[in-house]
Symmetry: C2
Subunit: 181 residues, 2 copies
């Protein structure tokens, strides 16, 4: 398969996960870890539901892949994630020795691969993956914009479909910008 088509294919799988997140009141970011042509890890954000600040899609997908493959080294694996990773997830990408990272929308306020900083610059750490950004960027960004727009209070309308706790937390996330998604 053509490399661009292949990246778009896996990004669509990650986008499906992001949509599932939105339905739960979680900031819609999805991630898959792929080895060859198999998914070995897949997750969306779970921070609000799990009440866990580290429950980002990428970190959970990496943990699942390690569990499934029986070791902490994810050589030969690639990560596809709908939003540019934050510093925590960029660090986890180095630690897990992923071969490559493909991300969708850039994150101007929190992105640690290119936007806010280039944490995985070759030579900085003992491993650096290949990085490709902007895969289905519009679609990946739109799902986030729609989510946050849906949370804004509208005059004369009920504030949100979400339960009060989730609504409060997610609005905090919005105020805190995406780096804290």
């Amino acid at each position: 398969m053509d490399a661009g088509l292949r990246a778009a294919h896996w990004m669509r799988v990650a986008l499906d996960l992001a949509r599932q997140a939105a339905a739960l009141g979680e900031v819609p970011v999805g991630a898959v870890v792929v080895r060859g042509e198999s998914v070995v890890g897949a997750a969306h954000n779970w921070r609000e539901t799990w009440r866990d600040p580290t429950a980002h899609a990428e970190l959970i997908a990496i943990r699942e892949a390690s569990r499934r493959l029986g070791g902490w080294r994810l050589d030969g694996c690639e990560l596809f994630v709908t939003l540019e990773p934050c510093p925590m997830c960029a660090g986890a990408i180095v630690l897990s020795r992923l071969d490559a990272v493909f991300y969708g929308a850039p994150d101007p306020k929190g992105g640690a691969l290119a936007s806010k900083m280039a944490l995985l610059t070759p030579g900085l750490w003992n491993h650096h993956p290949e990085i490709s950004g902007g895969i289905l960027a519009d679609e990946c960004g739109m799902i986030l914009k729609d989510f946050f727009r849906g949370l804004r209070p509208r005059r004369g309308a009920s504030q949100s479909r979400l339960p009060a706790g989730a609504r409060r937390d997610v609005r905090v996330a919005e105020g805190a910008r995406l780096e804290s998604e």
Copy 2:
């Protein structure tokens, strides 16, 4: 209690955890999350045993504290960790909104708070904790040096007391320097 004595007190608790890690063949780093005068999260590295690249002491202690306190915001909490955090853990510190971080030994090759980079520089992210390094630094560093020294093959001596799998992985960690501990 005097602030310096208090920091040393909690660092000794983290050091006890680091010693437990060494006994398991895990790179000896320990961390505690403290709220007021209570431990709400405590862990050492579990990467080798769990085969999880994200199983650093800090990340596990932060997750435990969130679970125990019932929310992902660790306002009012402090982290004490025997080794300067890596980028992943520095990112998790921002995401969890910890008030302060106290670390022991600097990590010249992997430390993300001061040594290799200053990832938590005020103004960079939407939250920055107070940072104090060098708490019982000699003791915190010595336990790491002793651990890696014990793993080096000696002429005419058996290579290590550790099981073969742990020995191999930990020697890889040593070669990869501390950022991948």
